[in-house]
Symmetry: D2
Subunit: 309 residues, 4 copies
């Protein structure tokens, strides 16, 4: 394998003529105004190396990548009981589709589509007011990244709340099937805040390291989840982490990953590294266009595909 920093630098350089590709999410002004030519990449290896390029230290809205962290918390608190509330199968439809929910009576297909993430968020509200649940999520992310500077962009959260009709539809729909235990506004409130967490590629890669390293953070020595659970979260990321583009991502990149509409992707090379990329322009199915390309290049050059060297 070539030197990792060289790989990262080359990817950055080779892609630079394409910076700005894709379509930046514009459903709220806070996302729409992000410069489309931003591009960052951070590779955090399990043995402590950090390789950065581009805007790797610029914060962006992690959006749906937060679903990995809330799933981890929920599994920690409730274990396999969460699977009564949400499935483990790819949805075969868009991230915000409501069709499947009607067919399956309010049980979302997996924790990484919006409906499934709302079900997980509802679980995190047990015994907590919304503010406390938000605080718990933020603290957990800070703990994972070992960085107390990570914050929530409240302006983003407010803006999501003001226009989040589709998510409100999903939450109300699940509530109509008695699949949420808490008030719809509470669930949505927490959800919009978790999505509004702002992180840099460097922070995000570090936060995901436990998934690359068998459940423990090798930098801090903290065990986050069991070895088996880390594998299982990776499995869910691989089959469901890119909505209706998950199959394609597995085909081209071959790594577990989770994308966010802010243009970020967290990818895991088990045993090797946690990787974060950020490029705001999205492809047709709502995943970072250049971010996906960058990860495909990285996987090819490092031989990190989980599907064989």
């Amino acid at each position: 394998m070539p030197d990792l920093q060289t790989v990262v630098d080359e990817i950055h350089r080779e892609l630079s003529p394409r910076f700005g590709e894709g379509r930046v999410a514009d459903y709220i002004p806070q996302l729409a105004r992000v410069r489309p030519d931003r591009f960052g990449i951070a590779v955090q290896t399990v043995d402590g190396g950090v390789h950065l390029a581009g805007d790797a230290d610029v914060s962006f809205s992690i959006q749906s990548i937060s679903k990995v962290f809330t799933l981890t918390i929920a599994l920690g608190k409730l274990g396999d009981a969460i699977w009564k509330r949400v499935g483990r199968e790819p949805s075969g439809t868009a991230f915000n589709s409501i069709v499947q929910l009607e067919r399956e009576a309010g049980i979302p297909r997996n924790p990484f589509i919006n409906a499934g993430a709302l079900a997980i968020t509802d679980l995190l509200l047990a015994g907590h007011p919304p503010k406390a649940a938000i605080g718990e999520i933020l603290r957990f992310v800070r703990y994972l990244a070992d960085d107390e500077d990570i914050v929530i962009d409240h302006e983003v959260a407010r803006s999501e709340a003001a226009t989040g009709y589709r998510n409100a539809a999903l939450a109300n729909f699940m509530r109509s099937f008695d699949r949420l235990n808490h008030p719809v506004e509470h669930v949505l409130g927490v959800y919009f805040h978790q999505c509004a967490i702002a992180m840099s590629c460097r922070q995000l890669a570090r936060a995901g390291l436990y998934l690359a390293a068998g459940g423990s953070n090798p930098l801090t020595g903290h065990r986050v989840v069991s070895r088996q659970r880390a594998r299982r979260i990776n499995a869910l990321m691989l089959t469901c982490g890119h909505y209706d583009g998950s199959g394609d991502f597995a085909y081209h990149v071959g790594l577990p990953g989770k994308s966010g509409v802010g243009g970020g992707i967290l990818a895991i090379a088990p045993g090797n590294a946690s990787i974060a990329v950020w490029s705001p322009g999205l492809n047709d199915v709502g995943n970072s266009a250049l971010g996906t390309v960058a990860l495909e290049m990285l996987a090819a050059r490092t031989g990190w595909s989980v599907f064989g060297a």
Copy 2:
């Protein structure tokens, strides 16, 4: 890691009280009359080891596992051009669902659901009469397994043809969208024959070895596909190989796999081994019930999950 033969023997012994679990496919008499308490397992390692237990040398109908081999042939002949005819995404529906086909105008979601396999079979008919296409598939499987004794069970093929209304519906439906180039009866004829290939676990594990070994068969030294293509086929098996149970299989087993309604599963541990299990009883989504359990046990005890040791 414990001794592999010991692992295989223990799995066989521990599962023996459960032999017969699940529901044997009974849509044709040839499958219905298989003894439900059959159980075989074969692990073929990339370094040449073979570990067998139970009915590992008894032939069974590989059914949909054949889709892995026809996909491999089609990729070899046509390369990425096949992706104009079939997608790479999990379907989110049953193996024989027609709903998605209507929404997506006759383009099946992936090559491992029935509709997708029919599309692939259609491609293999280019320039061939059906008999020649069937011959080519059989020859390829024999070549992969390095075993000239593998045959097609023509009684099974005839019986499938006599009752295969659902597949006939799928094929006619695709034809109505101009998505098949050859007569529906030709496509179905080849398809029913490829599904009727009979193999033992030992043969099947050997036939799949190229996917575990970066595209080459280390026993014969033949390169079957490129390294990248082997990874990609594995990726498709992981995301789509178990119909609407693919997510669950990835979660529990963590290996690329392809199941057949005859009760067989081919699973790939990249870099390590090709594994075949057979137990005729199926679970709710149509995959071998005990076969899945056996693979979960094997993956746990060997640490072969692609999602981390």
Copy 3:
């Protein structure tokens, strides 16, 4: 034709052993506590005759029957422009299905399913605060029935609002497609109040008389809608007025009709009479079970089917 009062009395007497059939709506306590053995019928002829039996003077919650009146108001104010917001086709799905809305990007199939009624209610909010819109609807119903005593059951409206998650999902979903102009809570507020209008069979039959009499109320001489519009509203009631039981209602009864989950049905015999029945027990598709039977008997004995004497 036999004497109408005799027909009505006989229907009441013949059905009395079956009073209580069906399943009373119980999603809010105010509906659940209605005595299931209630049964009322009122036939208001275009020449001024009134024929009553049973609980014809007891008020009940008209629920979705209100959709006929709000459609009439919206057509009066906006004419055919409303058809940009809602279709005119039977839905082929349940009254509260959201599946079709996703496929058709937020345009409900017709004004008589919940989503369609919400779209109409949204139109009535143009230039009005919710209270004024509610007032306008109530005044219109009072005007139609020529009865100032008709009121809204505010307890029902509040209860609907507290538990109306499915309708909230529909409204938010439409809003996410930019298909509602007013705040979701305003639309829902007005909708829940229109559904909570309480009327007796006598009042309801009188209120619907304009549809039986070519658009004018022959009792008051007021023209409500044009002759053509009355026909068209009748057509919509016939094809869409009983949700996914509309075909069956047309087959068995043969009259335009609109049902409500409170157990009421308003049916129109063009040129002859406006008919209201009430029996709280619902059938499988959510329409009054005995109410439907009563109307089938009435249509058979009077020869009032629109499909031939």
Copy 4:
């Protein structure tokens, strides 16, 4: 009401500048080669009057209009038992959709969509070879029209058979749910022949007269069906006779009707007349574009809407 012949002549004259509108069905050459500017209309009144204009004596392929006649035969032979095999509700989807069939396990929604007509055709095969069933249908249509010159266009039937993949998909799909009793090819064979019956507007209007006249043919004195059954067939035509344009047809025309892809429509004005129009260009939902307009004009000028004068 103005003089009927005048009305018919005026409609013909007023529409003549628009002859050719719409899109002629071209899935088989026999339909594609029909001159698009053809236009015929025939009004056969219950009191024996016949009013013709344009190409009222030119034969065309009645296609799906034949479903009215096969339904009538099936009801005559089996009565309400047919409703175990097919529903009575509008489909909410296109004429050839297969989605609903999967959701409802092979029971078509109504006898006028293709799947439903195939179910009815299957019933007509009971105890008959296909040729006999075809003969029975043709004899029945000749009897209704009192015209022995009506024939089947065998070239059309052959052409449909050669390309009827969508119908073959529907039939195979139903067969896979055990919803057809006879071989798929037999059912399709009869179906393609019934659709290939060629009739003129004059013949078609006469054949439908029993539905306008309470079940009897007033010209011949033959009772075809009971009064109640005539009403019920009309009800089905109104709610389901124009596929996913049925609501719109009821709204604009207000008469029971059944369209065919050959451009014909049979409409019934109960108590007044049976009407046939023919104009080959189809609208977006597959019904004759100008034929619909002509019927709307006729209904408006005669006041024949079933929804009120």
